[in-house]
């Protein structure tokens, strides 16, 4: 009985290791394996439309509301210390350093990541991927690489747009509604935000998160059980795993950059 148990533990360990190895191999193949640019770029543009442009609406709307809510909450606390002038720096720094990249990554995992997984999973279930292989077309290059690179390029851009919209949302609440001075909002923000440290950290974080989220999404789709239950499980896995990894990595990156 004990031998049986050990066997099962061993099998599971090897399974996990094999999955991880598969994921790393796919990542390497996808990152370094693009075919001729004349074929690759039209595919990439199409995926950037699906992954980036179609995510823009949710990013814009949630950015606006998140900026507004930070400004509103921040104002309530700061005004009791007579420090409501610091609203601008608070909104800008919290968005640039944390909320911008993290919330974008979470939304991106939910909006684009799950769609990527489901699409690739369905391609696998309907044997489109197998038929590409039959025609001697590498599905990693033709199907996976454009999707991965599209996610990698689009997410930092989405994070930038998100942050800017949120800062304007904060301005809308702080200045236009609660009556803070417009000059104070912008000038104190400018005095405390530094390009290299704050905007730089936003860009670094969003590039890292883009890697993680699209990698998880693409791998979960490519690796899924080719059944309807398998696809639904893979889609759930994408959102859960990508979100958890993003939140964990965010702590590590913050500790590295600001600790």
């Amino acid at each position: 009985m004990i031998a049986n148990y050990l066997q099962r533990v061993g099998l599971r360990t090897f399974n996990v290791l094999a999955t991880m190895g598969h994921a790393v191999l796919i990542y390497l193949k996808v990152v370094f394996g693009f075919s001729r640019l004349s074929i690759f770029i039209p595919l990439l543009v199409r995926q950037m439309y699906v992954v980036g442009v179609q995510s823009l609406l949710i990013i814009l709307v949630s950015g606006l509301f998140i900026g507004m809510v930070i400004a509103l909450q921040g104002y309530q606390v700061l005004v009791s210390y007579g420090a409501e002038g610091s609203l601008g720096p608070m909104v800008a720094l919290s968005l640039l350093r944390e909320l911008g990249p993290v919330v974008t990554a979470l939304l991106f995992a939910g909006r684009a990541g799950s769609a990527l997984t489901a699409e690739i999973g369905l391609m696998k279930a309907t044997e489109q991927i197998a038929s590409l292989e039959m025609m001697a077309i590498d599905p990693l290059r033709r199907v996976i690489a454009p999707r991965f690179w599209a996610g990698l390029i689009c997410m930092p851009m989405l994070a930038t747009v998100f942050t800017l919209v949120a800062i304007y949302g904060g301005k809308f609440v702080g200045v236009d509604w609660l009556g803070l001075d417009k000059g104070t909002y912008w000038s104190l923000m400018q005095a405390s935000v530094e390009w290299q440290q704050d905007i730089g950290s936003m860009l670094i974080k969003s590039v890292v998160f883009a890697n993680v989220v699209t990698w998880v999404a693409v791998f979960r789709g490519y690796h899924c059980q080719p059944t309807s239950a398998g696809i639904s499980k893979a889609t759930t896995d994408t959102v859960v795993q990508a979100s958890l990894i993003v939140l964990g990595l965010d702590f590590v990156l913050t500790a590295l950059m600001f600790g």
Partner: protein
């Protein structure tokens, strides 16, 4: 059919192009309106040092100001090994290189609870007085006012009476 497909492809390309333009524009607005380039990066600077008796709550990267205008940043705070006096490394923009050696540095606080910064009062210039150059020490310094010390002195002087 082919024509229709081409048109659709073109519409997608235009949308992606607009998206890229939007992202680049947001980055530009963030850079111009929200952030400032750090004084220590890029621009030409020179470094001078100042010994203070007490630096209070001065931090690295605190601004250096003349009459409220930021001219540089504090880039290092160390203790001199021999007498254990704090030495502050001041990196000043080369645009403001005409500072006489008689200039004085003091540690000031912006507002009652604000951050601390280094205020420089430019000194007078006569013939034989040189300008501050890289590596020089500002000799005329005033330490930070520590509120606790002042309260202590005040209480002490009260009890004398």
């Amino acid at each position: 059919m082919d024509r229709k497909k081409q048109l659709q492809q073109r519409r997608i390309e235009i949308a992606v192009g607009l998206f890229v333009v939007l992202a680049v524009a947001s980055l530009a607005i963030l850079s111009i309106k929200v952030a400032t380039w750090g004084m220590t990066g890029g621009q030409d600077t020179y470094t001078v040092y100042a010994r203070f008796d007490n630096i209070g709550g001065l931090k690295e990267r605190a601004p250096i100001k003349i009459g409220g205008v930021v001219i540089g940043r504090v880039t290092g705070i160390t203790l001199e090994s021999e007498y254990y006096t704090p030495v502050v490394e001041l990196r000043i923009n080369s645009r403001y290189s005409e500072l006489a050696e008689t200039s004085s540095a003091s540690i000031l606080t912006s507002g009652l609870l604000g951050e601390q910064y280094v205020g420089i009062t430019p000194g007078f210039v006569i013939d034989d007085i040189a300008m501050l150059t890289d590596g020089d020490y500002i000799t005329d310094t005033k330490p930070a006012l520590v509120l606790e010390d002042m309260i202590g002195q005040f209480l002490y002087s009260q009890s004398d009476d």
